[in-house]
Subunit: 412 residues, 2 copies
Amino acid sequence: MPVNVRVFSLNCWGIHYLSKHCPQRYAMIGEMLSKEEHDVVLLQEVWSEKDYLSLKKKLASSHPHSHYFKSGVIGSGLAIFSKHRIHDTFVYRYSLNGYPYMAHHGDWFGGKAVGMAVLSIGSLTANVYVTHLHAEYCRDKDSYLPHRVVQAWELQQFIRHTSAGADVVILGGDLNMHPQDLGNRLLRTYTGLKDSYLETPKFEGCDEGLTLIGIRIDYILFKGSPKTDISCDFMCTTKGSVPDHPFPYSDHEALTAELRLKTHTPSDTGSEKVAELVDIVTEARTEVKVGLHCAEGMRYTAARTGVMGFALLILELAIAAVPWLALGAEQPFPRTSFYLLAALCFAILLTTSLLYIFYTMELKSLQGAEDQMRLAVGSLQEKLRGFPLAQQYNPQRRPPEGQEPSAFDPEE
Amino acid sequence: MPVNVRVFSLNCWGIHYLSKHCPQRYAMIGEMLSKEEHDVVLLQEVWSEKDYLSLKKKLASSHPHSHYFKSGVIGSGLAIFSKHRIHDTFVYRYSLNGYPYMAHHGDWFGGKAVGMAVLSIGSLTANVYVTHLHAEYCRDKDSYLPHRVVQAWELQQFIRHTSAGADVVILGGDLNMHPQDLGNRLLRTYTGLKDSYLETPKFEGCDEGLTLIGIRIDYILFKGSPKTDISCDFMCTTKGSVPDHPFPYSDHEALTAELRLKTHTPSDTGSEKVAELVDIVTEARTEVKVGLHCAEGMRYTAARTGVMGFALLILELAIAAVPWLALGAEQPFPRTSFYLLAALCFAILLTTSLLYIFYTMELKSLQGAEDQMRLAVGSLQEKLRGFPLAQQYNPQRRPPEGQEPSAFDPEE
């Protein structure tokens, strides 16, 4: 007998004093959720734990189980409410998440992460994930692209490696990526997650499923397992305004997907899928390399500026200590200028040291992701070669193995 | 037919210029590894990537597959070399790892982590983990205990959640915990990993399996799966000096375990195990709460000092700006003192702000772990109640469920 699961996802835009009508909107959200009684509610940008706690109180009877994922300075902003028992939770904080000095973008302080909760839905084990990736502030010149690609990479790694024991996998959240963006393709192709907007036979909501003015960046994705089939019967989004209320729930639209779980009927994943994956991972690797190059340049600039600050300090100390260096100037080194200059040198040294450390960490994370991707491509290519069954289906057969013996080196 | 797997683990003590005879010891290690040809080699404290690369070159024929796990400012120091194909790697960086200002302890800069590699050993999938937890500098007054307990918690979470698809799980590394330490019990009981030193029928090496002067803190742990049984046939450690060489390989002893994998024969895990786990997780939660309390105190101190620095700055500016505030002092505010005092105030403000941010992050991580532990205890207690099979084996039956209806509240 099939089991129906209603999943809800919303980026709550919960920045107190900055987001408009924050307390009123939380009240509306709480009211709606307790009425709608979704099975699983996935929220993002719940930046204040107080708001989570007040929602928890309000949803105590409709959603007795909940978890707030803590991470970073401010928090991850991620929360889950569930009708079903949560057995276990885990959180993975992305290794890259913008720059601390881009304070007006603020992502770094949020400690962006993916949260996971293991639920029992009837006799099935569901791994439910909620996440929020780094924002895209300028699509044409997106300096955060390598960071977001690494986040998408880590997200798919985390989901793939943690979901082997699950019957059902559900991911909801604000991916900050358009449907065909690299990170999105990487995530969906590698994990096999399906986009409920693309899968549903019946949709109600904004044109083209848009979730933020002009773009679709919020998703509910899902997949089954060898034991369980999953499909989407219906999906809807809010359409800006809310009947009988003066404002919308958030600056993003809310998503609801009605999923149906049932016993498995077998299917194939052929070599075409793997070949596509090799291409996407290779593209992602290129993007990460661009980021690496850029971070190396910035670290070099920080180091050079730091060395110049240090040289200036030494010079100043030398001039102050050895009077004849002042080359016959009549006045001694003015005290005020001396202290101001020294303070400036120290400030430069401190700032560049912190930046140097930060860029080093960024480089490590980028290199780490690049290493993992290289290894993954090698493994996928090997899988592709050893696809005897898939090759029978494939009309354009590759040349037999003996004819291309050393073209591929997994350790390159 | 059983498969034999030889696993090696060593903390390499690879701090150039600080560790004694570092290049010579790496040469010895490389020579020994290429001769011994272990299936899997797990190394810790390979702080320099150059050393990893030179080992990789030396082991190219004996161990064609390898990975270096990047993380943090310096790196995780973790590396794996394998005779078998590495299909996938993943790294989880612990959310807590000491304090940046304890620079002489240095752990914070290392970005301590757990690295994972998915190997194919024959037809079996092996998840191999390598890790290095925060050092214990003073056993009697160990201020890092909450951090290490959270690391052990995250380690068991990571292994449990990522190993559902594996036939075999192997963990090697420097846990910096004695065999009966809380974190060690937490790790072994929750994951079901067995200690090869305790399991082996045949051991050669230092008395009581010691791996660092007077203590046993390095381990090779393992477990099978519903499909695969695993046992340890033989284990050995080095005994300090190495024949024909002037120094030992490292300040730690090297561990070798010979594991045997074969098809599964079923066994039970009863309610005793779960009850023990509830006790251990509860104990860990207490330890984390102690850390929470301590971090709260330190954050409060940082905030108070920052406020005082700010007040001092305001006072100074006021005195300088409004001469009559100087209460009839004859001299004006001396310029040198003014700048020195202002610089001091700024330094205090900057330091306390950074510390405040750092302690906030620490608090979030501790709270996050505490939340996860509370949830886990709830889930385990529920499992314990619903153990109909186990209760039949258990001579001391618990009272029937009706008699203790509301004693347990999972959401407390």
